[in-house]
Symmetry: C2
Amino acid sequence: MGVNLKELAAELKLSPSTVSRALNDSFEISEATKQKVISLAKKLDYQPNPFARSLRENKSKTIAVIIPERINSYFANVVDGIEEITQAHGYHLLVYCTQEDVEREKKIVNLLMNGRADAIVISVSSQLTDNFHLNLLHERGFPLVFFDRICSEIPTTKYITNNYESSFEGTNHLIQQGCKKIAFFMLSKELSITKERYSGYKDALDQAGINLDSKLNLTFSQNEEQNIESIKELLISDNRPDGILSSIGKLALATYQAVKRTNLSIPRDLKIISFFADSTVASLLNPSLTTITTPTFKIGEECGKLLIQKLTKPKQPDLPNQTFVIPSKITIRSSTIEI
Amino acid sequence: MGVNLKELAAELKLSPSTVSRALNDSFEISEATKQKVISLAKKLDYQPNPFARSLRENKSKTIAVIIPERINSYFANVVDGIEEITQAHGYHLLVYCTQEDVEREKKIVNLLMNGRADAIVISVSSQLTDNFHLNLLHERGFPLVFFDRICSEIPTTKYITNNYESSFEGTNHLIQQGCKKIAFFMLSKELSITKERYSGYKDALDQAGINLDSKLNLTFSQNEEQNIESIKELLISDNRPDGILSSIGKLALATYQAVKRTNLSIPRDLKIISFFADSTVASLLNPSLTTITTPTFKIGEECGKLLIQKLTKPKQPDLPNQTFVIPSKITIRSSTIEI
DNA sequence: ATACAAAATGAAATCGTTTCCGTATTTATT
DNA sequence: AATAAATACGGAAACGATTTCATTTTGTAT
């Protein structure tokens, strides 16, 4: 397409090596020729071929981001944060969405084994005991960063929120509002966030002397309509909860839909608090939704900063086996406050 | 990292060329050696270096997608659609978000001039008369596909929805519901979608014999809070509209927020219809929002199919200068229906 | 003027593929 | 049986950059 180094060199009656060095501002080249080279390069709009460079340097200036869902403010925001930092350093983002499908995730990870990206930032779609693909990658020394849904067994850097505490506080809030039968809504039980959030929920119940009713702990699927119906069934059953802690935002929306199919009312008959990313939507729901909100953009930025550090400085050590906790904030709205 | 062709060849006592051909299933290689090569390649987990390949073949198996916003169901859904098709053909997606910033868009487009991607799919952030960067790219023969927010002057393939008709119908719906003073909310006037949607709005008013009041045509910024205040000002002014057609989803949300700051009520005092992607949210708003919904995933799929066709078949002609229209659907909900 | 160090540039290898071209062996044709 | 054609493979160039090593040019000290 454009002009290449050799052509530039020919035009300038210089060797390609000199031109390369001039453009990379090497000390070996005189100021005079540097200027000549740079000005012609600009004039001819010379763009170095990224693949030639990647091949030679064995780095791609590309970071892969793997998320479970794209239509999800939480993940979208994290990616925005990553892009904000990495783009400024000339990095490109390959963004893959697994649609919560583990097989798809494995395929994607396998595709990335060949060095197409210099690092991976991932929030796993569902943590099976089988995270062989990620393990292998990490063992080969490939920079790997987790956020939100992590694999704790893989010793690398992770960014999460204070899931346990947030969940504990959220549950406590429901208890303080008079809830006696508090349900816990989740996706896969294998997810790190599920475990931690469940743990906070459980401990809050314990502390309040409330018995945990396992029938109130519901695991949901990827099928929206099915989820709504399950919730509705629960709500019209004898064992109806009077409070819900939803560990996933979209399950709160499903609950609102389910409630519309009953003659119950939030917060009168049912109070609900949820981990939820989009505060605009939370505030516009009827009633407005009490949320636990994670600073997702910040998480993305932190991931980005860490990777830039690792990838752009020479002789960096492996990413430390460390988990950074960025606290969430509870915003109390009408869905948990008695009128 | 992994093993390369030369090493594979040495292990097999074959030449690299033979191994390469065997792996690419060339007719020149006997079945026997093909099997030997393939099995060792599998055993040693051989992964071809993508950059060597890209350099040699002059294609990257990568498609760049440029969107104005990532936290937006509309665009997220289109990207999902693109990924659905292209991933199955071994393509990777570089996703860039401009945050509605034209300068940022230009920078990104310039970065893509060097062949890092084989094609670009873009919804422009704001169409200035100055779309030099995209024009240049297209003139160089670079495959470029537009969706939603297009540059009509650039002769390539575009995917849009029936903006004019949807807007016309939407406005008519408001008129039928008794609205006399109908406002039109938009982002930049330069956007193709704004022009078309405005045109449909205008013609519907004309047809109904309603005079267009330019004070009811509001252009908004990227500042959420400021937008909400502007809307509130409008709503408490003498010139208060009784209907709103919002050409952008988030302006409908801003309107709901603004209404909460007044003592007005939807749909009693104000009816609103909006182009809006997330029907779950639309149905949960209070009152539920009448929407014009575009089949965004389908648009993404169509973009993907077109590009796969263009990029994987040999000797393909340039992308045709053609605009495909994928119709939207109006869903009437409570925000436009008198109680 | 000579010697030697420093500065500036060039030649060629390299990264890992693919592919053009050449060659040896086997198979088919008359 | 001699020749043509098909089959199977190897050697080396090519893609476009960077970098090691070698070489030329310039500057400085004696």
